[in-house]
Symmetry: D3
Subunit: 187 residues, 6 copies
């Protein structure tokens, strides 16, 4: 933790007991405290807003599996070339799927993965929403419904893709560095 | 409220007392409940995560004035051509600035506004972060510091621009409709 | 008229009687002399060439209604982010349609308007012609004929979209300022 | 003239005496009637508006030489990949300059020509105005003044580049065919 | 050969007898030694690797005619705006086809040529591969098979388009100058 | 080798003794025969042309280290999102550098690596040549010379970047699959 985590010099207050406990739980479950949390920790209100949204989205109930949500995260981050998110969430795809090559294909070009039509439709929507949000039309939503997604699933696909369009940009703006441990995980 | 707010058909549960109270407060302070809140209300956890982050970012303490944060919101939404956000936050720029033309310039092309160097640098950063996040380098952060922004301000500029890159995409994905009242406000 | 209209310093000759009369007629009919005319007035030959083409195109006989031509003007100007044309022609859409929100949607993202197939096809053609003129093929013309446009209408859609690709660029090149009165019109 | 000139089927009225005379003059001076004139001839008002603007711009008084204006025409048409304009105006650059290779370089990539700084600045402005009109700022005008252009010259550079952004799009929209004679001229 | 061929100053060793003979054969068959060969001649190993690949690809056995391969070369070079390749291979299309206008259309915009469906499909594939290689999917290969291309032909279309994406970039990087003789050939 | 290597069905002739020996040497030195070689092996002339150029470029004498050449390969392939090349050459960067994270940064976003000015200039040139070859000007070459590259080095940077713009497109066009062994190498 002596190495810098972002390019910004932000005075960090003493962490609250709640935050310390949260970080301890991360350490225990993941073997590390993700640097994105340390980056936000200079202001606990911001940290909490971020983690609340993140946890609800990525870990909460959804018609999408956790792996599917991570695949969206990585495919979006690939377009935005976000070093932090590709590293951390690429590792998550490798772990959740048990297929190291799948994580690599999400990082490099999801079209190489030859996915089933459900996942292909899901990622095509996420990618169009990332690249040309202004051009989304009813036909794009219809394509998701056609492969079996409910309207609630459409919301979750959209929210997940949108969230990483946010966090990719926070990471890029401050040059956020991923924990080095991610690189070797689940290879 | 009989007209549709999004293109999705999402069953909405009975609102909790806390949410009813929050909407009543919106009604009282703004004269309306922003449709984005109604759109998220199908799931109160998602609604709360969204409002917590939004309120912290746009109304919390910051070296950026509220008007500056709204200017970032609109300049980003202009690139993404987000009808919902341009309408709602365009109105906010008109109101906070007392200059209707300023709101229009943020919607149409911020470069037309001939802003002072502080605001120009702030919006140039927000626009580059929106258009080419992968190409942000140290020089971009240095340009913000040079016109007087602190590192904490850089975080806030980045977070605000990033947040609207998220909400622009949620709105585009579900065809979110702004409250019609915004159009006539502060003209 | 003391404020600058463009970023260029162009010596203006005494206006001819014909031009004075034309401007007086504008004042009477529109309540103002559009700044674009004052910008061209440094050279009456250029002014006349511009107004002749403009009037023939936007006010002459056509299978397109005046509102449809103004919608094309604004949708094209939205892509080119032209402050002058979005302001002046956005006001025209609001006035001709009697629907302020329609003007806003043309400025922000025409896809939000959920237009009938005729207008959607018309604007999709105008937008493709603006963004990727080299990629127009016979199929694009066929799509217009299919929703009922005649070949003469195709010419008018093309000419109108093309004209604003010209005037957007003149306005951008010289930083042309719209008359402030437009902002409050027909809200 | 039996071959089609555009992809549109536009009933052509009998030409007026004035138009016949104008075409005869073209035939005499150029050895042909440019197809663009025949394309517009279905409506003499449109034809006259086009030729008035074209002649004023390309042949009228200006601080830019006729060759310089043709160079702008071709460099702009190169970006828009306009077959009609590249053919007709490429021939004009070859003729006016007496350097066939110069015409080819304008068609293919003006940067290959290694032009003096005046022409380079002129074409860089025309190209930026074509590709990214929304991003023109005062610095772009200043760069033209710095190499000796007057404000009036800036207007002419802008108007010429803008005009071909219009006519490139009319030609693309209707698949306008150049007179075959252009290909062999001034080689 | 006194004029410079590239922007680089590369010491050229004495040519080997084999290379002298090869250049003599070019002179005899083409009337010139293509400047690209002189550019590579500073290192005979590089020269031989280039000519081996080039000759196999453009002159070897293939289901594509030599003209078709040259058409791909020019259509690709048009997107990359490569002055060297457009000049040299534009001349080849004019020569092989006996239709000067065909060469011009490949240089300017292949869509203007109204080609049969086989050539159209071939060039659409080459252009997509040039502009958006990451977005090639099985459907793109299927479109080639549908108009009668074998899998081996698909390889040749791909390799030819890919090769010119390489040589366009070598030429751009070093400002390679085409032999002036090309301009007047086969007009 | 039972799994498919490309999406094309290409009859493969019996391999010559020379090719068998070459593949045996690959097996011995690398522990595998790179799939790209097997993909080209349907035609030994094509295979030899490819390997001759590749070996001269990536393994021959140069002012660029082998690692630097591999860094260019990966940075270029990142823009083109080439699954095959990112996998194979990403592994090479990890191996040659002994820094797994460096390979990942080249795959994801080379700007994250905070490289010394020599490598930064080299990769900025390679990236511009990949994204906008038509916009390379003398200033781009000058920037390389300024950090100490010779004209011969400029040639090598250009050739390497150009080569991967070719092979990325061959791989994309035929959906070439990397050897699975690469994923776990040098992690």
């Amino acid at each position: 933790m002596t190495d810098r985590i972002t390019a910004l010099d932000l005075a960090r207050a003493e962490l609250s007991e709640a935050t310390k406990a949260y970080f301890a739980k991360c350490e225990e479950k993941l073997g590390l405290v993700p640097n994105v949390l340390l980056a936000y920790a200079f202001d606990e209100k911001k940290l909490r807003a971020f983690t609340d949204m993140y946890n609800e989205l990525m870990l909460g109930e959804s018609g999408l599996s956790k792996l599917e949500r991570e695949m969206i995260a990585v495919a979006v981050s690939s377009i935005n070339q976000c070093y932090y998110c590709l590293t951390a969430h690429g590792a998550a795809v490798r772990q959740l799927s048990g297929e190291p090559a799948l994580g690599e294909m999400m990082v490099m070009n999801f079209r190489a993965a030859g996915l089933p039509e459900r996942e292909t439709a899901m990622l095509e929507f996420a990618v169009k929403l990332t690249e040309e949000p202004a051009k989304i039309v009813e036909g794009d939503r219809a394509a998701l419904r056609q492969v079996g997604f409910s309207d609630r699933d459409v919301w979750d696909i959209a929210s997940t893709a949108a969230f990483f369009n946010m966090s990719n940009r926070v990471a890029a703006a401050v040059d956020m560095r991923p924990n080095p441990e991610y690189h070797a995980m689940a290879r």
